[in-house]
Amino acid sequence: MSWLLNFGNRRSEATLHVRCSRSARWITGGTLLVVICFNASVLAGTPKTANTTKESDKQFNKLLAEVKAKVGGEQTLNQYKSKFMGLSRNELRFMHEICKLRRSQFDAIKTDVDRTALRIALDAANTELAMNRGGGRRAQRKTPDVYKKLEDGLMRAAKAHLTEVQARAYSEELEARRHFRKEADAGMLLGFMDPELRLTDEQRNKLLPHLVKAWTPDWEQNLSIMEGNGLRFMPQIPNQEFRKLLNEKQKEIFSTFGQSGTIFFGMHVHQFPDVDLNAKPLADELLFEPEVEEGIQ
């Protein structure tokens, strides 16, 4: 404070006192403002995140209680649970083959994925029960893509527990699988149209990417119905782009194809394959070498 006092020697004592007080007030005020803002952001952040998780758990528990209360609810839920736990376990093993997981990573992801599988099973059981009672109009609006929900759940768990390299490797495999599926469905659709449209090889190769781009998960139901019922149940496709690649006669015939849009004839547990969780070598303990467990670096 001596430099301040020396400085103040040239001024009156009163002036010095005022200058010090003003500076102190500015410094104190500024510091206080920063502290308040910081605390406010902390206080604003934490409760919201906690609230979202709590809200989600609350909704889950409420739906679980509702489903169990329905006639046949618990049985239906258990059937879906065993199917989806099996599917999620298959996916987890696949992830291990791609990413070479450590035991700790495997166990952490398994916990998350089991929870995801249970949520999906709950939604599926609720949809089936609603449709069986004839009150499933809301369920009929959109085909639930169960497999995508499972894959998304796995991807979230992968991002949370894996290294960047591991997560990227798994994500690329998932993307490749999805693209392959889209190509298969788009090709099937062209196959249904071909006997009438008489497409050339060149047309098929040009139309395929358009259909792949327009693909939605709903197509699966449409395609399975079309196998026995023909073009009446064709899914919605981008007509404008499609028609540009057809000649005039093909366009006339194309306009007679019915595009029925989303079809959802219901959810049933037997749509999904069985997986024996206890069949060797599926058991978890056989996946890891006892001595060394190293992930991808």
Partner: protein
């Protein structure tokens, strides 16, 4: 009294009572009338065993119902038979144009193909008429006879969906006898390209079904597709038969597939393709196998 006052004032109880009594009396009157009609006609009801055939108007209504059912099940895409016929005419024209594009047709060849296609359409509609007559007769005897119509109509639906001018049709048979060697080679090459597209598509679908049970790596998928690239395509075929050929080929190539897929994946594939081995005779007859 103003309207506003009328609306706000409750109806007098006496007025309400009068309305209720009037309603009940009307209801009772209707009931009485109903009882009266049944009683009037009771003596005229004939026991079922002695029932006489229905009136003319009733007969026509049933025939109309049969026709509407057949039209709805067969021609749902086209609204009615007339539109279906026009659509088939366009398909025939397109089929001939497609062959002309691939191999080049003379005027005489075009004319013969046109006649052959028209023959296929005539045969098809003759079968539809036969079905109408058959079910018309059934309906006369038993109104519930319409319930079996789906079984009889399904083969006709399949033919319509798979194109009337495909393998086995008069059109296809005339086309085979019509072309010289050069044209035939060109046509076979185009047909093989088409069947190869169906084959690869259905192979991809089968792989996708397998992946629902046991996921595969991208590398495994590529290797499976490459393995089946070597499978030869016939010179003619349908999409459905090609689907069966995929299952047969996967079943036959199991030893090679065991080098690409692991035990769990092979075990998951087996139920999807096992039926392929039962199709051997059918595939041989359809020209898919030597």
């Amino acid at each position: 009294m103003s309207v506003t006052r009328l609306r706000t004032q409750p109806l007098p109880i006496a007025r309400l009572a009068v309305i209720c009594v009037a309603f009940l009396m009307q209801f009772a009157e209707v009931q009485a009338q109903f009882r009266l009609d049944i009683e009037d006609v009771a003596e005229t009801i004939v026991p079922i065993a002695e029932a006489t055939p229905p009136k003319r108007e009733e007969l026509d209504r049933r025939v109309v119902m049969v026709n509407e059912n057949i039209n709805g099940l067969l021609f749902h895409r086209h609204s009615n038979e007339g539109q279906a016929r026009r659509s088939l005419a366009r398909q025939l024209s397109l089929a001939i144009d497609a062959i002309d594009r691939d191999v080049g047709l003379t005027e005489d060849q075009r004319r013969k193909l046109q006649l052959a296609g028209a023959g296929d359409v005539s045969i098809f509609f003759a079968e539809v008429e036969k079905l109408r007559d058959e079910f018309g007769e059934k309906m006369l005897q038993n109104p519930n006879g319409i319930n079996n119509i789906w079984q009889d109509i399904q083969p006709l639906r399949q033919r319509l969906q798979n194109s009337l001018f495909g393998p086995g049709s008069i059109f296809a048979k005339v086309a085979e006898g019509l072309f010289d060697e050069l044209q035939l080679n060109k046509l076979q090459k185009v047909e093989q390209q088409r069947l190869r597209f169906f084959f690869e598509t259905h192979l991809k679908r089968t792989i996708c079904q397998l992946e629902r049970r046991q996921p595969m790596h991208a590398k495994q998928r590529r290797e499976v597709m490459k393995l089946l690239e070597e499978v030869e395509m016939p010179s003619r075929g349908t999409r459905q038969m090609t689907n069966n050929y995929v299952s047969y080929s996967l079943w036959k190539l199991r030893p090679q597939l065991s080098e690409i897929l692991n035990g769990r994946q092979l075990a998951a594939l087996d139920p999807l393709v096992r039926h392929g081995v039962d199709m051997e005779k059918t595939l041989r007859e359809a020209g898919y196998l030597p």
